[in-house]
Symmetry: C2
């Protein structure tokens, strides 16, 4: 499979890595990049991540065979409405957003019915706190999970084509509904980010915050690494996945309260049992480590 | 300074690393180890971490010039009462426990007044999830923080001697009261452990736990790494530092609730501001990374 021209909207870590991997695999002939920062676009050209820079999403979509939206999730609606304004017959549309129900809703709102045949929502689980095209790598997705959440409107052949693109990047592709995706990632990704941000904030409010942080060990550093993530990106994710996130926060808060009461009442058995179960669950359920990344 | 014979009670990562570093610096002539596992003691002898193994804490204390307690904090009382049964004049007593007010209370309860002159509570901030003498290293404490929490009963010269031992291990030593220590470490260490255990437990209770963990990225892995820590050790720490820990859990829960309400009500500005503050605080207040470790 060869796709001709790829347009990436948002030339950062994810978009750039997707372009590089597909170039490397000779899956694409040409990459058009659309981005807001001129400096970043120049850099992407210099690095050979993109072959040309374009300011208009509409025009890039008209020139492309495949378009990847790799923008903060709150910008998806604007980008899709720009895509919809263009004139194209067989454009394959996909995205890399961390939430999926909102993408489906935007696609249904902004795209004509025939475009929905070839609009395949996706979410690569890679990225971490690095951002920008300089961090892009053709290896970013190797061994990583990519979740596609096909729409009922999709042409199955189009889903398979997007799947092949990600497979060519070295990713392991799975499929689930957008509802299930958003529920799972609220638990495994969005909640931990909120907890890390909340912990750092609670500590920063201490009068002796500088002293306190000064005694942080590697455990604290690891635990709060995700609090170094982009506030804008995570604000958007939290807003887009509100209901699931609140449900997950409440489930967590319930368990935290149980532990708090165990500690307060000196119930050593309860506390040890909870800690033991957690350690066992982590050891038995968390898949073996691969090299890096993860959002 | 040269101390003659060092006794380490608990021949694991911390006790073993302390012995190795002091041997390397030629600060000690001989190391006696006391531990419950015969296999571990044999291993410590093989590795040369200790020169002889002893079953009785009392006897080891009688032969030693310096004794380091590197046992779970709930065992401190038993070990100190064993030490107190022995016959010694100038024994320097110190420990490596993660909580300090309980150590002071045990020392005052079990040791005679003259022994308190030379009983210096300490806490090396190193360790992470590795355990056992095989993980011990003469380099473990290099560049690490060690906090001493001297008692009013202490002979200042004895405090200085313990400080010199840790400095010889490459550590940076600071002093504070036991009260302040326990308050700071409730925030920076004990709370994050409870949160990590609680998060993994909340997730493990899901019907689709295996699937959910399967989609965890590196962020989740980092965030929950400390949930792989010893349940027994952390149960003891939580019990020993109950009041401070409950206070910190409540401060965290308050901030979490604020974020939860921001998310639920779609208050994007509140959420973004909180995330931005957290990122800034972490960047500006967390000291630059050193290699590894941390409890």
């Amino acid at each position: 499979m060869r796709v001709g021209t790829l347009a990436i909207i948002g030339v950062g870590l994810i978009g750039g890595s997707f372009a590089q991997a597909l170039k490397r695999q000779e899956m694409v002939d040409r990459v058009i990049g659309v981005g807001r920062s001129e400096a970043n676009m120049r850099r992407a050209l210099e690095l050979g991540v993109i072959d040309s820079a374009e300011q208009s999403v509409t025009r890039a979509a008209e020139m492309a065979d495949v378009i990847l939206l790799a923008v903060p999730v709150m910008q998806v609606a604007t980008v899709l409405s720009d895509v919809a304004r263009g004139d194209h017959e067989n454009l394959l549309i996909t995205d890399a957003g961390s939430t999926k129900q909102d993408f489906l809703a935007s696609a249904r709102r902004w795209l004509p019915a025939k475009a929905l045949l070839r609009t395949i929502p996706g979410h690569p689980i890679a990225g971490a706190e690095l951002t920008g095209v300089d961090a892009a790598s053709e290896k970013l997705f190797q061994g990583r999970n990519v979740v596609l959440t096909p729409m009922v409107e999709n042409d199955p052949a189009a889903v398979t084509r997007v799947e092949k693109l990600w497979t060519a990047c070295g990713a392991r592709v799975s499929r689930m509904t957008a509802e299930r995706h958003d529920e799972i990632f609220a638990a495994v990704s969005h909640l931990p980010h909120v907890l890390a941000f909340a912990l750092v904030n609670a500590m920063a409010q201490r009068e002796d915050a500088a002293d306190t942080f000064g005694f942080a060990g590697a455990g604290f550093r690891d635990f709060t690494r995700i609090a170094g993530s982009s506030p804008e990106m995570w604000r958007d994710i939290c807003m887009a996945n509100r209901d699931n996130l609140v449900t997950q926060i409440d489930a967590f808060a319930h368990e935290l309260w149980r532990l708090r009461e165990g500690v307060r009442l000196g119930n050593a058995a309860l506390v040890e049992e909870a800690f033991s179960k957690a350690r066992e669950a982590r050891q038995s359920l968390l898949p073996p480590r691969r090299d890096e990344g993860g959002r």
